[in-house]
Every structure is written in structure tokens, then in C-alpha cells.
Amino acid sequence: MPNPYMSPIERAWFYLHRLLSGLTLLFLVLPVLVIIPLSFNESSFLVYPLTGFSMRWYHDFFTSAEWMRSLKNSLIVAPAATVLAMVFGTLASVGLTRTEFRGKALLMSLLISPMVVPVVIVGVAGYLFFAPLGMDASYTTLILMHAALGVPFVVITVTATLQGFNHNLVRAAASLGASPLRSFFKVTLPLIAPGVISGALFAFGTSFDEVVVTIFIAGPEQATLPRAMFSGIRENLSPTIAAAATLLIAFSVVMLLTLEWLRGRGERLRTQPAKA
């Protein structure tokens, strides 16, 4: 609420600011909200007003061999890529935060760079490199490249979590006779778990949404869900795509809520230290 001491002009600015911000928020959520009702609409045209309720587009989605294959592929590639990114990324983040060394900033920039290099370049480079080795159109290559794209997110979130990590705990564990491996799994990992999990969620989201690299290096056999959506949007924007989109939105909501929960938990742990 505007405070009572504001001049009329300030008051006008206050409401204008609220209005602008509200419109920006509307702009952000509108597309997500608009596509959902259309997926339950019986008409085969993606236009408002709605004509009647129907589940036929979901039926189409779940009975189409092509959509099902792409869903299956996404569910193979994304978890595998996530595990790779998570393991490599977490190890590297621990290494990066435990000591200072020369060239650390440069190394960090290199590890984050898959996030900023244009995906088309990654895709073309991957294709030019792996095709002569006979490794294009394979799940392995797709998983490896998706993992590379997911790594920066794991490194960013895990190093951020490790900033607040007390390395004396590891020393204490070592002085009590724990092996490095044991102290990692018993001391470090439980404490940085929120960072690792959010990094993994980001890596999963990256792979699950990745289309450009997939266009270049996957064959029709490995086409993922976004790849199928890309062809769908290009050829014929049908309500089945709206159904697929709604399922993906539901999925993002689950991921987002998990992440928010983790963040809230982490903040609580930080702001309310355990009572001695």
C-alpha cells in the first residue's frame, strides 16, 4: 500500500510501477496458462473460445507410436545425462572450492562455457566430430553431449552451496580416522545435498528441453520429446502438441516446486542454526 505521506505524483508512480510489474508478470505466465485449456478442447483448431471438453488429444498423444517413442527416448537420455553431469560436476566443484590455485577463474570459466556457447555450434561440432567415428545417431553420443550441456548448472549450484561449507568438518572427520571417501559420503555430501539436487534438476531440465544438439546428432530412432515437438510445430501445430505441452508444463511445475522446497529448506538450515 502507498504510504499516506506520498505526494500525488509519487502515488501515481507507485500505481504505475505496480501496473507495469503486473503486466510483466502476466506476460510471463500468459503463454503457459493459455495453452493448457486448449489441450482439453474438443476442436481440432488451437483457437479460443473453447467449444467443449475432450480428452481426445491426450488419447492421441498416448496412443501415437511416435510420441511414445520420443517420450521414452527423453526418459532414457535425460536421467543418464543428469547422472553424468551430477557426478562429474560435484567432484569438480569440491575440487574447485577446497583450495586456491592459479588459473582457477579460467578453469571455472571453461567449465561454465557450455552454457553460453551457442547450441548450434555445439551441435554442428558434435556432428562433425562424432559422425566420422560412426558415433552419430547413437544414444551414447546424445547422452554425453547433453551431460556436457548440463554440467555448468551443477557446477554453479554446487560451488554456491560449498561457499557456505565449513571445510573444518572434513578435517575433523579425517582426524577422527575417516577415509576421504567416507568423509565425503558421510559429511560433505549430506550437507551439500540441496545444491547437488538442484544442480541435477537443472541438468535434467536442460536435457529434457534440449532440441538443437538433438537435431544435429540424433537419428530418427533417438528423437526426444522436444525434437518431436519441434517437427510438430514446424509441420502442423495440432492440439496433440498442446497436450504434450501441458504434460511438460505439469512436469516443470513439479520440478520448480521441488526446487523451491529445497531452497526454502536450505535457507531455514542456514538462518536457524541447530540449537546446541
Binding site: P31, V34, A105, A125, V253, L259
Partner: protein, 421 residues
């Protein structure tokens, strides 16, 4: 540290086994560093194999020029003796006849023709025609006369200069072509004729569109980020979810949704017509407007988050202090608050700009041919016309631009300091 003020003892402190403590400490620290590096090593190697080496070979590919050297080996050798002005001597003609027979039998004629056609239009048909007529039966006394008789283009030095220019396995041809330049017949670098010069325009368009997206994102993000930090936590968390939901939603879902919203019978046009703003549906998609809307939508969270996290660290008391000291609220905002947010604004703008210049999917699905950015042409030359040289040269320049901006970003912001969600 402690010893610095006290006088050093005559004999240095040692450990039990007689090694000076300093040496031992240095050794322990070195071990520790090595252990840290060993933890980073798996990821570094992984990225090297899946990311750095492929991109490196892409860059090398942009100067690769294998066709002429591979298909016309003896011609390339013989043409070295030619002065480049008149017509080449007889051995060169003899060599080209022999090479073309071999190229036809090895089926490399197609690639060679395609490559030389980029240098001189019509070269492909010349090679095809010549290869079909070979070998001459009976063997002519002069291959030079025979070839010129077969096609008078063999009597034109320009066709020979094209071979001579490509007598090396490396060429600046594609990189120059990617900035609308070429090596002319005299060996000088000149601008391409205006009707063929397209790539500088494409680069300019890419940077312009990215700048527009960055500015619009900033104008929308700044007030919203300010609102988010000034609201009570519960409310701002709720609004933050509204920012993050689209961030987590698949880009393709959002592209599909924007097509639905912006099409001529879509909600936006219906709303505009209902409000009487327009009496006929506006073209909002499959043109520049659609690309801008969708790109701003996708990149806006990347602008909001860094600005938000900087604003969160600014105490509101500064602003109150300025006002209580007599500053006008707007003046206080501009002189006291805004300067403190510049770091966030800079980080957000750089990030959005860097990500924008590599965009492919959004312009490809929502734009017209005139709204395509550099990435589109990289994909086009890779998938459609299979011209690796052009694809990798354009890709290499785009990568160079990205890397320069990314280095600035790393220096100013720190690569790992990105706040995600």
C-alpha cells in the same frame, strides 16, 4: 606470519625427521592442490572430449580446403611453375587431364566441382563436360589445344587461377566469405559484390536483434525486480514462482503457446480488436515482432534474477536517508539506488545479450526468412546445402563473438556467480 615480527631463530624449525617445517608445509600444500586438481580432472577430461575437441575441430574445419589438393594432385604440382598471367604451359594441361580421369573414377569429381564452382561460376559444368570427353583417343599432340578446343573456358586464365589459389590444404576463403570478402584474381582481398554480400548483414541483424531483446528485457525486468525486493517475503516468493515457472517450461512449449496467442485468430488479436485498437488482425507472428516477443519471454528471467539478487543486498535505508536529507524521491532513486544496482544490470544485460546472439529455435519457428540470425545459417549450411566450410566459418565467427563477450562477463561478474532460481 607470527615469525615475521620476531627475530628468526638461528636454525629453522624442523619436523621430527629433520625436514624444515617450511618445506614440509609447502609440500603438504602442493599435495592438497594436486588433490583438488585431481577432483576437477574427470570433468575437465569429459568436457575436453565432448565439447572442447569437437569445437576445436570445427574451427580447424573452417580453414580446411581438401578438394583441389586431393583431386588434382599433379595439376597442383605442375601449376606451381606457371607465372599466373598468360595460359599455363602444356604439362599443366596434361596433368589436369590425367587428374580428371582419376577423379571421375574415384567419384571425387562432384566435391571438386562444387568447390571450384564457389570460385568461378560454371566450373562444375566445365569439369563434368571435360571428364566425359576424357581420355582423348588418340592421345593428342597438345593437350592444351585439345582442351581449349573442347571448351574455350580452358583458354581463360581465371579458371586456372582458381586451381592455383587452392593449391594448399588450407584457405581463408570461407572465413573471408563469412565477412563478405574474397581473394580476387590478383590475390588481393576485396569486398564481395553487393548482390552476393549477405553475411555482414546477418551479423549486424543478429547483434541488433540481440540488443533490442536486451533493452526490452531490461525495461521490463528492472521494475519487476524492484517490486520483488520491496514486497514482504511471502508475497515476493509467490511472484518469484510466476517468474520461474516460464523459466522452467520447455522453450518449445512456449514457442507453441506464442504461436497460438499471436496468430491472426489468436487471443491477442481478438483482444486488440475487441478493445477497438485495430479493426483487422495484425501480423504478430512469423515476423520480427513474434521473434522479439518470444525471445524476451524466454530471456527475461536471466535479466530478472541477477538484478533481483543485487537489489536484495541493498539496504532500503540509503534511499530513506537520501529522502530525509531533502532529496526528491526520484532524484534519490536515480542518484542513490540505481548506481548500486548497476552491477546487476550489467550482469543481466551481458548474459541476455550473450545468450541472444546464439538463438536459433525461436527465430526459426517464429520468424520470417528476414529474421534469421547467424545460428540459422550455420544450421542451414550444415543440414541443407552441406557446405561445411561456410557452416564452420560462420560458426567460428559467432563463437569468437560469444567468447569475447563471455570473457568480459567472467571478468566483471565471475563465471560461477550466476544465480539460478
Amino acid at each position: 606470519m607470527m615469525a615475521s615480527s620476531a627475530p628468526m631463530p638461528d636454525h629453522p624449525l624442523t619436523t621430527q625427521d629433520g625436514v624444515p617445517l617450511k618445506t614440509k608445509l609447502a609440500r603438504a600444500e602442493r599435495m592438497n592442490k594436486l588433490k583438488s586438481l585431481a577432483l576437477v580432472l574427470p570433468l575437465a577430461l569429459f568436457l575436453l572430449l565432448t565439447f572442447v575437441v569437437p569445437i576445436g575441430s570445427l574451427l580447424l574445419r573452417s580453414v580446411d580446403n581438401p578438394e583441389v589438393v586431393a583431386s588434382l594432385p599433379s595439376t597442383v604440382k605442375a601449376i606451381g611453375a606457371w607465372d599466373g598471367k598468360s595460359l599455363p604451359p602444356e604439362p599443366v594441361y596434361r596433368a589436369v587431364a590425367a587428374d580428371l580421369i582419376k577423379a571421375r573414377d574415384d567419384q571425387t569429381l562432384g566435391d571438386l566441382g562444387k568447390r571450384l564452382n564457389m570460385e568461378v561460376a560454371g566450373y562444375r559444368s566445365l569439369l563434368g563436360k571435360t571428364a566425359r570427353a576424357l581420355p582423348f583417343d588418340p592421345a593428342p599432340a597438345s593437350y592444351k589445344d585439345a582442351l581449349v578446343k573442347l571448351d574455350e573456358r580452358w583458354g581463360d586464365p581465371a579458371y586456372w587461377q582458381a586451381i592455383r589459389r587452392n593449391g594448399s590444404a588450407h584457405t581463408p576463403f570461407y572465413l573471408l566469405a563469412a565477412v563478405d570478402h574474397r581473394v580476387d584474381d590478383l590475390g588481393d582481398i576485396t569486398a564481395t559484390t553487393p548482390d552476393q554480400a549477405i553475411y555482414l548483414d546477418v551479423f549486424a541483424r543478429t547483434f541488433w536483434m540481440s540488443a533490442v531483446v536486451t533493452v526490452i528485457s531490461l525495461l521490463l525486468a528492472y521494475p519487476l525486480a524492484y517490486l520483488l525486493v520491496s514486497l514482504p517475503t511471502r508475497k515476493s516468493n509467490l511472484l518469484m514462482i510466476m517468474v520461474l515457472l516460464p523459466f522452467w517450461t520447455s522453450v518449445l512449449v512456449r514457442v507453441a503457446a506464442w504461436i497460438v496467442l499471436l496468430q491472426s485468430g489468436g487471443l491477442i488479436n481478438s483482444a486488440l480488436m475487441a478493445l477497438g485498437i485495430t479493426d483487422h488482425p495484425l501480423q504478430l507472428v512469423f515476423n520480427r515482432v513474434g521473434v522479439y516477443i518470444a525471445m524476451v519471454h524466454i530471456l527475461l528471467p536471466f535479466m530478472i534474477l541477477p538484478i533481483y539478487s543485487v537489489m536484495k543486498g541493498i539496504s532500503p535505508t540509503y534511499l530513506r536517508a537520501a529522502v530525509s536529507l531533502g532529496s526528491h524521491p526520484f532524484g534519490a532513486f536515480w542518484k542513490v539506488y540505481f548506481p548500486q544496482t548497476v552491477a546487476g544490470v550489467g550482469a543481466g544485460c551481458l548474459l541476455v545479450f550473450i545468450l541472444s546472439i546464439g538463438y536459433y529455435i525461436t527465430p526459426a519457428l517464429l520468424g520470417s526468412p528476414n529474421d534469421q540470425m547467424v545460428s540459422y545459417f550455420v544450421a542451414f549450411y550444415t543440414n541443407t546445402t552441406i557446405n561445411w566450410g561456410m557452416a564452420t566459418a560462420l560458426g567460428g565467427l559467432l563463437l569468437a563473438a560469444t567468447m569475447v563477450l563471455y570473457m568480459v562477463y567472467s571478468k566483471l561478474v565471475g563465471a560461477g556467480r550466476l544465480r539460478l532460481g
